[in-house]
């Protein structure tokens, strides 16, 4: 067991540090022009060094590096420390690019990958529909081929950042006679056209991270399809080829715990700082136990990754485990807030400066219920753990959907 990153990686870290010191923030020549131009130049430079776009072939604008989770981790750490921008955040880099690289036509890769990597275009995802939840086979949005164009009608929901996106990758029912999954295609849609109506979807916290998107005779060219007709469901499941980052989530949890401790120092219970209350102290340690287990489990999974070994059942439970931890933190926060456990939720600034304000905690108390729901309910995850992780038989009800 060796928790250092090793000499080679530390040398690499030195290179990254030196690069960042020289290049970010931009100075001299590099600091000329608009913010956007500076950002673009910096990204190009970082790509040329092999620090960004690592999983993307050179011909589509990436740096085409051999997968190396540790290097990926070091790059993340150092870029974060320097406040330097990495690849654009969001669903485009996370989901669309790997899918295109795996299943896209040559012209699609050329047209979209580089521009996405450089932050020139932004994407949103059109999977969920009202009433479809985790069950994508029941999608109702229709696409009809009229001449050289798909004409799309229907509604998507839980589309984050749809109002800022240039394009959507979208699951659309194009083969009405085919059953369930088999009738769905994976289409790309220009969001800047008439017939698209984006409405904010307000959450119970009062915030609006998500949108509903309505399609009324929306058009997209015939060849803006990834994979064949009716293969959309398959295409959407293309495994993410990204360098995994199992540690990131535990880091967030640790930051939350720190904020909770800060809140416990600030708030009073029974006339003294909550942090001095024996039960609160023990509950903080209890939550910390779960977080630490989650965190070190991330170390272990990264190691397995490095060795190209399977993480086993552990790899299937990260999400539900962090959901559980979120519930625990949320409830403990309510206990610490005491009489202010009913203040209106504040801005969704959980990782920012006001992380330990009361209204951020009531926000979190609600958001943790939302997290449990997003991306498949906990029960679907339990089934996956039971079946793929523990090898239990499929349950009969679930089998029906075959």
């Amino acid at each position: 067991m060796d928790l250092s990153y090793g000499k080679e990686i530390e040398a690499f870290r030195g290179e990254v540090k030196a690069f960042l010191k020289a290049s970010w923030p931009p100075t001299g020549e590099a600091a000329k022009g608009s913010k956007e131009e500076q950002l673009r130049r910096f990204r190009e430079l970082a790509i040329s060094k092999g620090y960004l776009g690592r999983s993307i072939p050179r011909k589509y604008g990436g740096s085409e590096q051999a997968p190396d989770p540790l290097k990926g981790q070091v790059i993340q750490e150092e870029f974060a420390a320097a406040g330097a921008p990495m690849e654009p955040r969001g669903i485009g880099m996370m989901m669309l690019v790997p899918t295109l690289l795996d299943r896209g036509e040559e012209w699609q890769k050329e047209k979209f990958v580089r521009a996405t990597l450089m932050g020139e275009i932004a994407w949103c995802q059109g999977y969920s529909e009202p009433g479809s939840g985790s069950d994508l086979a029941s999608l109702k949005t229709r696409g009809e081929l009229v001449g050289d164009e798909w004409v799309i009608n229907g509604q998507k929901i839980w589309t984050s950042s749809a109002h800022e996106a240039d394009f959507m990758f979208c699951l659309v029912r194009t083969e009405p006679e085919a059953k369930k999954h088999a009738g769905i295609s994976y289409l790309l849609i220009d969001m800047k056209q008439p017939g698209i109506d984006v409405r904010p979807l307000r959450e119970m916290t009062g915030g609006a991270m998500f949108n509903e998107v309505f399609f009324n005779d929306v058009r997209t060219p015939k060849d803006w399809i990834v994979g064949n007709r009716g293969e959309g469901w398959l295409v959407s499941r293309t495994t993410l080829k990204h360098e995994r980052n199992s540690i990131g989530n535990a880091g967030q949890m640790t930051a939350l715990l720190d904020a909770l401790v800060a809140t416990a120092k600030r708030r009073k219970i029974d006339g003294r700082p909550a942090i001095q209350d024996p039960e609160i102290r023990r509950r903080l340690v209890e939550v910390e136990g779960y977080i630490r287990a989650h965190q070190y489990s991330g170390f272990l999974q990264m190691t397995k990754d490095l060795k190209k070994e399977s993480p086993g059942v552990m790899g299937l439970m990260n999400k539900i485990n962090s959901t559980h931890i979120g519930h625990r933190i949320a409830k403990l926060a309510m206990e610490i807030l005491g009489d202010d456990g009913v203040v209106a939720p504040g801005e969704r600034n959980l990782m920012g400066a006001e992380m330990d304000s009361d209204s951020t905690w009531t926000n979190y108390y609600m958001a943790t219920v939302g997290i449990a729901i997003a991306g498949g309910t906990a029960n679907v995850q339990r089934n996956v753990i039971a079946e793929r992780g523990l090898g239990l038989p499929r349950d009969v009800a679930a089998d029906r959907s075959k």
């Binding site: 009489d339 219920v369 009800a397």
Partner: protein, 359 residues
Amino acid sequence: MDFDLSDEQRMLQQTVSQFLDNECPMAKLRQLFDDEIGFDPVLWKGLAELGVAGIHLPAEYGGSELEILDLAVVAETLGAHAAPVPFFSHALASLAISLAGSAEQKKRLLPALASGERIATIAFSEESDGWLPEQWTLAAGATLHGAKERVEAAEHADLFVVGLAGGKLGVVDRSAKGIEIQRVESADRTRRFGRIHFENSPVEILAGAGIEAARRVVDVGLVLLAADAFGGAEKLVATSVAYAKNREQFGVIIGSFQGLKHQLAEMAIEIEPSRALYWYAAHAQDHAPGEASRIASIAKSHLSERYSQVARDATEVHGGIGYTWEGDTQIWFKRAMFDRVMLGTPRLHKNRAADLAGW
């Protein structure tokens, strides 16, 4: 033995329930929920005309002179409907006057409260954990100087019943000088909060009874919150079950997935037995004075905790829609937050119940 509601109590619940179905359907509730002020005088007046404002007040002042259980079953019904009315605080404030007011004060103040023409509220909490009469510190003189926190309906009440040092109770009129009301945004938009500052505000003391009157007001309040919590929690179980019966996923009604069925069963197990708990706690207020305070604290801490948890569970059962502002679940979720905090957190009341047991 008859541990059940009387026909009259059932009818009272039914009347209130029907009135709310008609006069405060979901669309109306949402409108008030989203509204800046969130108070509809007409809705309140309609409820008051059913006698709801004076259930517990003496007949000579226009009340129905019924028991706390009658008040509580109405609170349950309002909880189930998430009714955006200041019933809770009005009931406690008017109770305080009827318990501790002089004959003259009762005669002067109660009739307009019993009819609901005027609205009264309670101003008890100061800083954190200041809900109990023993904890009040605002000095009782001819005028008040200081502040009260977490006052429900502060902006639309005509009268404030204020908790004072030594467990005394005082009445301040909304029109009195030196009153400043600050709106406080709270999660539950069916029952709004305000902070009241008093600056040389004239107060009349309710001198007809000692601290035990204030304790009884708090105890009754705990019962009403327990009842509200039961009503809301049972409603959430019911809507979750209904959702599970209707919604399909993977071509199957989700309510036929055993995993979800067992979760729904557990939600029901957590809630259903406590109907009898709040009934008993309400009954004890009139018939078992020796255990009235303790069972009130137990019922409030138990039910507000069950309600909070079932609200989380129900939100999950409802999937994405449960997490939206447009979904209905969130309204009850936030009422659970109010019920948990109002008159003191479960922690405070568990401590109190342990103290009262002599442990």
